[in-house]
């Protein structure tokens, strides 16, 4: 599909203003379809050619009571004609479908921003459900904002007067009316959504017609246009040339795991027990059976990792995925995979903890437990995805490391990445380097089940191979794989396991420094903070501050070259969504540098402004030093 044009031929009389970027937030009840609205706006903008970033924000409950604050569902997106890396700190425009949505979101709206409210949803009962003692439309709550009041319910009823749908069903078209309105304001084409509706409701013509009518009605609501004092246009961005699609983190991750197994030339067996926000990895993979993907929904997380280990033992690529509480359960079995040196990919889509914590909120607090959270000296590589679009590549790399080094690998993602969607510059698949597994099928003179290649990986023998029968287990073993309690052997095996994991660093690139190669402050990040840190650092650099940035994807072992890079900066500033875990790690590993942790543990991503302010604070404190 080629991008449609943004021409609104009917905009005639009202001014058309060009904007570089806009942050838009849709908020309503979970039943109001705000995720669909947001996704449609995103899709249309992507097809149009904007750069963009999104932030869906689900309620914790499946269906919280209608109209209540916990039931509010939100979707924020930033679309732009230039490079952007975050969904934006503060919306320029807030669409609030009811009082609860207004109250939950109004604090984030930019001073002077636009708020579009559905006045039909501000009746006394609505206010009560939202726990508003007074009407926020009247009590001064909205002072300082530009308020655009639209009776969306009535307008939808009017527009759909002729539709055969029930009243209730008609009201379910409210989100498309709103979307139409916003399409007009931002000069977006209707076609992509009109087409999407036909696809989506195929066979249900009344629904297609009603939603399309509502969309157009919103778009054409002439009288409302006046309130906006004009239309805006956010021109196409000059994006990196290439082929794009939108992708969510969990989906890109799932595709990456399949790709990894294909590049290894073996069957992927993904075993998992559902848990928010990792469940959809299982669900995506279950849909890829025609790619030879085997999925097992296990009875619990322990069974899941154990079955994955069994699959790897049998010569497939065992994989498992979960979130924090499930990770805490898998520790013992991770030890088994480490001790038996079997390849395994363990996905951890992090969420806010400790314990059950806040399952739908973001956090990066499983870093140290990923690295250290098992009994004994039990080292294993850990990789951290930064955004949906690199989930593909890093998942492949996790598979590569697993089979090349005969080791379990942890692949960290988080809630923000998992459910966030962004344009993915599709890779040229021919450039992907295969890393085919070569099972050992014959015994050479000096063959040992725990013999070593140049990477220190042991040979992988596949059960079923005649003459190669062997036994392994979690007890300490001699190179022959027989049980050994020999003291020197235990020392040697312990050292071997450590060194093997350290060796992984030889196969990963030193991360790039963005900005000057030396200076006052180096901002170091990992994981899903990447866009925010990039934006903040670019802003700081634009102000002439001596700040550079580095982002880690391979967090254990650390890549080579960091010591030299850190040495070129006065301080290394480490913003993290946890209590200074990366800081502890780096101090333990590369003790000779001045690390400054900057932490936020609210279940919400950092704001660009927060990072900018911290950079400034650190510069003030250390630049002179």
């Amino acid at each position: 599909m080629t991008p449609p044009t943004a021409q609104d031929t009917s905009a005639g009389e009202l001014p058309l203003q060009q904007l570089d970027r806009v942050v838009l937030r849709f908020a309503g009840d979970s039943g109001d379809g705000m995720q669909v609205t947001g996704n449609q706006f995103t899709r249309t903008s992507a097809l149009f050619g904007n750069d963009l970033a999104t932030l869906p924000d689900f309620p914790a409950e499946i269906r919280a009571p209608v109209g209540t604050r916990p039931g509010v569902s939100g979707f924020q997106l930033q679309f732009s004609s230039s490079d952007i890396h975050t969904p934006g700190d503060q919306p320029d425009v807030l669409v609030a479908m009811n009082p609860a949505a207004l109250m939950v979101n109004i604090d984030t709206l930019k001073k002077g921003g636009i708020v579009i409210v559905n006045t039909d949803a501000f009746k006394a009962t609505d206010l009560k459900k939202a726990k508003c003692d007074t009407n926020p439309l009247e009590d001064g709550t909205l002072d300082g904002f530009r308020v655009i009041e639209v009776g969306i319910n009535s307008r939808v009823s009017e527009a759909l007067a002729d539709s055969p749908l029930s009243n209730k069903d008609k009201q379910r078209c409210k989100n498309f009316y709103t979307l139409g309105l916003m399409y007009w304001v931002y000069s977006r084409p209707l076609e992509p959504t009109l087409e999407w509706l036909e696809e989506k409701f195929k066979g249900k013509d009344d629904l297609i017609a009603a939603n399309q009518t509502a969309l157009k009605a919103g778009y054409n609501a002439g009288d409302i246009r006046e309130l906006f004092q004009g239309q805006y246009e956010v021109p196409k961005a000059t994006l990196q040339p290439g082929t794009y699609r939108n992708v969510m983190g969990n989906q890109a991750l799932a595709i990456g795991l399949v790709a990894g197994a294909k590049l290894a030339g073996i069957k992927p067996v993904y075993c998992s027990y559902p848990i928010t926000p990792a469940s959809s990895v299982l669900e995506f993979l279950a849909g890829y059976k025609n790619h030879g993907v085997v999925t097992i929904q296990s009875e619990d997380e322990i069974a899941a990792i154990c079955s994955a280990i069994g699959a790897s033992f049998a010569g497939s690529l065992g994989m498992t995925g979960t979130s924090g509480p499930g990770m805490a359960l898998k520790g013992e079995a991770m030890g088994l995979a480490i001790s038996t040196e079997l390849p395994l990919v363990i996905v951890d889509v992090q969420r806010a903890g400790p314990s059950t914590g806040m399952p739908t909120k973001v956090e990066q607090s499983d870093l140290l437990s990923s690295i250290f959270g098992r009994n004994g000296d039990a080292p294993m590589p850990v990789i951290a995805i930064s955004k949906p679009s690199d989930a593909f590549e890093l998942s492949i790399d996790a598979c590569r490391i697993a089979v090349q080094y005969m080791t379990p690998v942890i692949l960290l993602s988080d809630n923000f990445i998992a459910n966030g969607a962004e344009p993915w510059a599709l890779p040229d698949l021919d450039t992907l380097k295969p890393f085919p597994v070569r099972f050992t099928e014959e015994k050479t003179e000096d063959f040992q089940s725990f013999g070593r290649d140049e990477k220190l990986a042991r040979p992988w023998v596949k059960p079923g191979t005649p003459g190669m029968e062997f036994r392994i287990g979690g007890l300490e073993k001699a190179p022959s794989s027989n049980i050994s309690y020999d003291p020197d052997n235990h020392q040697a095996m312990t050292d071997m396991r450590h060194q093997k994991v350290r060796n992984v660093a030889d196969s990963i690139p030193t991360p790039e420094v963005h900005g000057a190669e030396s200076g006052d402050v180096l901002v170091l990040g990992w994981g899903s903070t990447v866009g925010i840190l990039r934006q903040a650092v670019e802003n700081a650099q634009a102000k002439g501050q001596s700040v550079s940035r580095i982002h880690l994807t391979h967090v254990w072992p650390l890549p080579h070259g960091l010591d030299e890079i850190f040495a070129r900066f006065k301080v290394v500033l480490i913003p993290e969504m946890n209590v200074a875990q990366m800081t502890s790690l780096l101090r333990g590993e590369l003790p000779d540098h001045n690390y400054i942790p900057f932490n936020k543990v609210t279940g919400q991503p950092f704001l660009v402004t927060e990072i900018e302010a911290e950079i400034k604070r650190v510069l003030d404190e250390h630049a002179g030093a």
């Binding site: 595709i255 059976k289 097992i296 322990i302 069974a303 033992f313 049998a314 036994r471």
Partner: protein, 334 residues
């Protein structure tokens, strides 16, 4: 599954080069012996045979078989074996476990493998004790067991393994005795022939920590009167003189003369006969039933899983990576 071929390999070929390290006199030796014999007689291929175990004295078993083997972690053998079997259904997978490994820490995985009905064989060595950790009572120890951690006697009511297994929808449940080589062989053969998960409880003598249990139940001298060997389609008869019988009377089992004995039908659709018969264990007046306690047919998990993959390929075509990556709405920027 394997056709009974001319035994090309002997029992010895199934012994690994590892020194066997159970206590002298331990019942585990006899079971190892029986298994090696069974493998040889059934013409098994060591390369296609995998023994998976948890942790416990019993779970050392795989190290002593000259096949593929995986000594995993405590209680998790069924979960590991599930991965092995699903990944490669051609392998002949045997799980070796103890009463603690399978019914204490591992109860849930046992239950789930039974309901899924993977085509594997489970050998549960029941010595009614934790051997490896030196003698604490187990979930099969009777109430009042005085051992290290229960100086005043245990309070928990034990599981009855066969009842637990059928409660978990097992399709094949059997019980045998370490010291009865002939019976063990017969049961191993039946289990191997069953398509689906075969659960075999083997009453096993832990001579160090629990030999009393064994002596009063199944030791050779008491065995003929204390056990009854149930054979499909044959009357339920026991006793040194094979003069005693069992018959059903509504929801009870009664002792009767051999002539009056009912015929045993382990393939009854309902679980009822199995739980009734297994329930005799509570009653010191009744013999301990051994033999095949349940044997019914049901679909096999790994077959279904792999069939879905094949079906998907057949209907959608074998997927190429580009189909996944270049999927959905694609646009280009030049």
């Amino acid at each position: 599954m394997t056709d009974i071929a001319q035994p090309a390999l002997t029992k010895k070929d199934f012994a690994s080069d590892q020194e066997v390290r159970w206590c002298p006199g331990c019942g585990d030796y006899a079971i190892l012996n029986a298994l090696q014999k069974h493998m040889a007689e059934s013409g098994a291929d060591p390369a296609k045979t995998v023994f998976v175990s948890g942790i416990g004295c019993s779970s050392r078993f795989p190290y002593y078989m000259n096949t593929y083997g995986f000594h995993t972690i405590h209680g998790r053998a069924p979960a590991v074996a599930t991965g092995v079997k699903v990944a490669n259904p051609d392998l002949d997978v045997w799980i070796v476990t103890g009463d603690g490994d399978s019914l204490s820490i591992g109860g849930n995985h046992l239950a789930h493998i039974l309901r899924r009905n993977l085509d594997v064989n489970i050998l549960m060595f029941n010595n009614e004790i934790y051997g490896l950790t030196k003698g604490q009572y187990s979930p099969t120890s009777p109430v009042g067991t005085k051992k290290k951690s229960t100086p005043m006697g245990s309070i928990d009511r034990p599981f009855e393994p066969a009842q637990f297994a059928v409660g978990s929808q097992a399709t094949f449940v059997a019980r045998t005795i370490d010291q009865d080589m002939k019976h063990m062989s017969k049961i191993l053969k039946a289990a191997a022939a069953h398509r689906g998960t075969s659960f075999i409880e083997i009453l096993q003598n832990c001579v160090i920590f629990n030999k009393d249990f064994y002596a009063t139940t199944v030791e050779k001298k008491v065995r003929p009167d204390r056990t009854v060997d149930l054979v499909a389609g044959e009357p339920m008869i026991y006793g040194a003189d094979r003069d005693k019988g069992l018959r059903f009377n509504g929801f009870t089992v009664e002792r009767c003369s051999a002539e009056e004995a009912d015929v045993w039908r382990p393939d009854t659709p309902s679980h009822a006969p199995t739980v009734l018969i297994a329930g005799m264990r509570d009653d010191p007046e009744m013999p301990v039933p051994v033999g095949v306690l349940r044997a019914v047919e049901a679909p096999v998990y790994e077959v279904g899983v792999n069939a879905q993959v094949e079906d998907a390929i057949a209907t959608k075509g074998a997927g190429e990576l580009k189909d996944l990556v270049y999927d959905g709405e694609i646009w280009t920027v030049d």
